[in-house]
């Protein structure tokens, strides 16, 4: 087999050196009762060509050549060619976690750059080397707030991505952490500050809001911060559309910013792998989960980078660790780093402006349901058809319509969530508008 670099004669030599006559003897010490007495019921190995063919066939059974108006936490953005060029280098792709700093400066340096760029983007003081994704970053941020404040309760906006809220509940339930939701205003789509104020108390560790929220609305971060801070809670701000930070004022009032970087050259890939981040103020550094890369010097006085503050992590702290996380998303974070480098200061802004323009062109043709300001997504209620009817009609034109919201918000069952990015063509928006009449 082409991945196994031993010839039969080499195996023979090694078996002799081990003092056994056959490979089976290497397993002779295993109790008979545990031995698998038959071959695995899996087909024999196939050639490269056949493997490619298998996956091409599967890919053909998915959507191909459709225009899409789906957003809802996963966004269609162009992936600059250089991203795959860089991450395909064997030195990045096939390297290990950079525990041995002397031979991992490539990875460590790029992570340090990543941490810096996330700070610049979010306005926070420190960022970690990535979380699994945006959805798991939410409970991690909540637990962080609980550690920092010594309090145990969490208030979360209903306009936070529904699946993110589900993940939060799964974690919170087992931490004995009560989670309560506060609503949004039916007219603007922004958070209901009065509802938040009503539900707020001094036992709350964190108030969690998303901006732009699940409906695409730029939300009331400053006002939420005031309510949270007045009662000694931290404000956690989540983002799912990273491109929005190219144009939107970062949430400076937040104590913790967490979110998803999939928009930065990470393929949608049917749900993963993605990369989440957590960024925070200086004073909460030691409460942060996940890997951190720090700057130092080596024995010869050169600038060098290394993993640091590892005593927060599982391999040292064990049951008292800030999290159980071990793997981060290094290669995915590298994709985002290359993306941020390529677009840069001007480019990310221009990209965001294009997204704004596209979505606002569409909203001129398909009326938004909410009056709040939005970035590249908005909720629309189509008078003439139900969301399912609309999407069925659109599929005939090879268009995947927006997400019908009924599955997550029963009160919005007559509406869809439409997203337009720099990749959305005017002609497709015109076509969608036509079908939606």
């Amino acid at each position: 087999m082409r991945y196994l670099p031993k010839s039969d004669s080499e195996r023979r030599q090694m078996l002799d050196a081990c003092g056994v006559s056959s490979a089976e003897e290497l397993f002779a010490h295993l109790p008979e009762a545990v031995r698998l007495q038959r071959p695995l019921a899996l087909a024999p190995g196939i050639s490269e060509y056949e493997i490619v063919q298998y996956f091409r066939d599967r890919a053909a059974e998915n959507a191909n050549g459709y225009a899409s108006f789906l957003g809802a936490g996963v966004y269609n953005h162009y992936r600059p060619v250089l991203v795959d060029t860089v991450v395909s280098r064997g030195e990045f792709l096939t390297s290990y976690t950079p525990y041995q700093a002397e031979i991992s400066q490539g990875t460590l340096t790029t992570i340090f750059e990543f941490q810096t760029m996330i700070c610049q983007l979010t306005g926070m003081d420190v960022a970690n080397a990535s979380m699994y994704d945006g959805s798991t970053a939410v409970p991690e941020a909540a637990m962080m707030a609980a550690r920092a404040t010594g309090k145990g309760r969490v208030l979360v906006a209903r306009s936070l991505h529904p699946e993110y809220r589900e993940v939060l509940r799964t974690y919170a339930k087992n931490q004995g952490m009560p989670v309560e939701e506060f609503g949004y205003l039916p007219e603007t789509g922004a958070i209901d500050l009065e509802d938040l104020e009503r539900k707020m108390d001094s036992l709350t560790a964190a108030v969690i809001v998303q901006s732009p929220n699940f409906f695409g609305i730029v939300d009331q971060v400053k006002a939420a911060a005031e309510i949270a801070h007045a009662r000694g809670a931290l404000l956690v701000v989540i983002f799912t559309e990273a491109v929005s930070l190219g144009l939107l004022e970062p949430p400076a009032e937040a104590d913790i910013v967490a979110g998803e970087l999939q928009s930065f050259a990470i393929s949608p890939s049917y749900g993963g792998p993605y990369a989440g981040i957590i960024a925070t103020k200086e004073k909460y550094i030691r409460q942060m989960p996940g890997r951190l890369v720090g700057q130092s010097v080596d024995s010869r006085g050169n600038r060098a980078f290394c993993l640091t503050l590892a005593t927060r992590e599982q391999h040292i702290r064990r049951e008292k660790a800030t999290s159980n996380i071990c793997t981060n998303q290094a290669l995915i974070a590298l994709m985002a780093t290359v993306f941020m480098t390529i677009y840069g200061k001007e480019g990310l802004r221009e990209l965001a402006l294009q997204n704004l323009a596209k979505a606002h062109y569409l909203s001129g043709k398909v009326k938004p349901r909410f009056t709040g300001a939005f970035f590249n997504e908005f909720v629309a209620r189509v008078e003439s058809k139900s969301p399912d009817e609309l999407n069925k009609a659109l599929l005939k034109k090879k268009i995947i319509g927006g997400l019908p919201l009924g599955r997550f918000y029963p009160e919005l069952a007559d509406s869809v969530l439409l997203c337009a990015t720099e990749m959305t063509k005017r002609s497709d928006m015109d076509l969608l508008a036509e079908v939606a009449q």
Partner: protein, 493 residues
């Protein structure tokens, strides 16, 4: 004579921010086909940011050179062996990268209509079936994003099951002192107290102690098999029996599955729930620290509690089942790290059933061979048969003032990545070595020769070893200052 360019060792690449200068661009967006919109008008002036201060500004050429130069500072599997114990640093087949990027798979949106995602769902179903067959378990969830995430999922499943069955999730999880740090960290996050169980004198599970320790408060034992010494837990069946008799469950950390695939199946020796590390056993690339995937495999009794949604067959098609009232809920948005699953499936298809078993045999052969070659030079505290990895201690060299960390650093000078240092904790000054099946005889013999040479250097010239590495661009990094005065981002001067 042609003068060659000096090797990268002498390159000094600065940070991207230090290379930036205003006005440089590496991108070009197409012209807008719709009217531009004034952001202040659309968003409200207060919501529009000024520039992103400090963000890079470089050209495409500078970008590619920057990352290329940085990459040459890394060691990688493509260069040579990583003898890291319990990490299973095997070859990352390039075909995996190709298939994961096929457009219909790479651009699939998790919310696209199920009728237009059948290919992706078929891939997931195929992976579930293959992993169930390999582990001897009944059902698999692909949702967890990594090993530790899978561990958490598994413990939450146990909690939900015990709660449903007897109204009592119990209070404690037993964890061997040889366990990986994620195990106790996971138990704590799942809301359980951790109780350590000491390994026996021979480094394996002490079933007499287990019989004594498992009481009404114990929900489960978390075990790694083979354990972190690379030794098969010969009493695993007995351990499972003890736990089950007392109403507790057996969780297996699948980090060491590379010793078992095709040879023995956890489902057959009493495991109720386990996780797999696709980025270890199934060759998906580590990429400098992730991504991974941590599928969880369970016995039938735990199936109703698996995360939502689950794949089910609806006539001739695949569908997601969201109506699962006993489910523990979601542990992650969407369905799992699909891109990683594609790579793992490509690996499984390439090897096939017989091939997977052969890989296991080669992995164990390599580790046993290394043990035999190095036994005369390094102290071996636990002497039973080892499988895919072997753990020495630095006792012999420590008498001369040379510790495992020093030997590891000196190994770098011989062109290898270090083995796992100082773990597991039950071995003093541990050297944990796992070659995987990827290494041929030449590479292994070179590794053995290097280790023997270092053992000799520890006697003849200990200072050489203690001050290693010598041949790298960067010497030992001052981790103490990095922790005392953390500098975690670049700032302009």
């Amino acid at each position: 004579m042609i003068e060659k360019v000096t090797p990268h060792l002498s390159q000094n690449e600065s940070l991207i921010f230090e290379r930036s200068s205003p006005g440089k661009k590496a991108y070009q967006l197409p012209e807008l086909d719709v009217p531009a919109v004034d952001p202040a008008e659309a968003l409200g002036a207060a919501n529009v940011r000024a520039e992103i201060e400090g963000f890079p500004e470089v050209s495409e050429v500078e970008a590619i050179r920057h990352f290329t130069r940085l990459s040459t500072w890394n060691y990688a599997i493509d260069h040579g062996m990583y003898p890291l114990g319990s990490c299973t640093m095997k070859y990352n087949p390039r075909i995996n990268e190709l298939v994961a990027r096929i457009e219909g798979l790479a651009w699939a949106h998790p919310y696209q209509p199920e009728a237009l995602a059948q290919g992706a769902m078929e891939v997931m179903a195929r992976v579930e079936a293959a992993l169930a067959e390999i582990t001897g378990m009944d059902a698999v969830t692909l949702q967890p994003a990594a090993g530790a995430h899978g561990e958490l999922t598994g413990i939450l499943l146990i909690r939900a099951f015990l709660e449903a069955k007897r109204g009592n999730p119990r209070k404690k999880i037993l964890i061997p002192d040889s366990a990986h740090g994620t195990n106790p960290a996971t138990a704590a996050i799942a809301g359980y107290a951790v109780e350590n169980i000491k390994s026996s004198e021979t480094g394996v599970l002490d079933v007499a102690a287990l019989e004594h320790l498992v009481d009404q408060d114990v929900a489960a034992l978390m075990v790694t098999n083979p354990n972190t010494l690379g030794v098969f837990e010969e009493n695993i069946v007995q351990a499972a029996e003890i736990l089950h008799r007392k109403g507790a469950m057996l969780y297996m950390d699948g980090a060491n599955m590379n010793a078992l695939v095709g040879i023995a199946r956890p489902g057959d020796f009493g495991v109720d729930v386990m996780h797999l590390n696709l980025h270890k056993t199934f060759s998906t690339p580590h990429g400098g620290g992730g991504p991974g995937a941590g599928p969880v495999a369970v016995k039938k009794i735990l199936e109703p509690f698996l995360p939502t949604p689950r794949l089910r067959r609806a006539g001739k098609k695949w569908a997601f089942d969201y109506k699962r009232k006993h489910s523990i809920g979601r542990v992650k948005a969407f369905y799992g790290n699909f891109g990683v699953l594609v790579r793992a499936l490509a690996y499984i298809l390439a090897h096939g059933g017989p091939g997977l078993r052969n890989a296991t045999v080669d992995a164990v052969l390599n580790a046993v061979y290394i043990r035999k070659q190095l036994e005369p030079y390094f102290d071996l505290p636990y002497t039973q048969a080892n499988m895919h990895e072997v753990v020495f201690s630095d006792d012999r060299q420590a008498k001369l003032g040379v510790r495992t960390g020093d030997i590891a650093k000196r190994l770098i000078d011989y062109g290898f990545h270090p083995y796992t240092v100082s773990f597991p904790m039950i071995v003093h000054g541990a050297l944990m070595i796992e070659p995987t099946e990827t290494e041929g005889k030449q590479e292994i013999d070179q590794f053995v020769a290097a280790m023997i040479s270092i053992a000799k250097e520890a006697e003849s010239d200990p200072q050489l070893v203690k001050s290693a590495p010598h041949g790298t661009r960067i010497g030992r990094v001052d981790e103490v200052t990095a922790a005392r005065k953390p500098v975690l981002r670049w700032k302009p001067a």
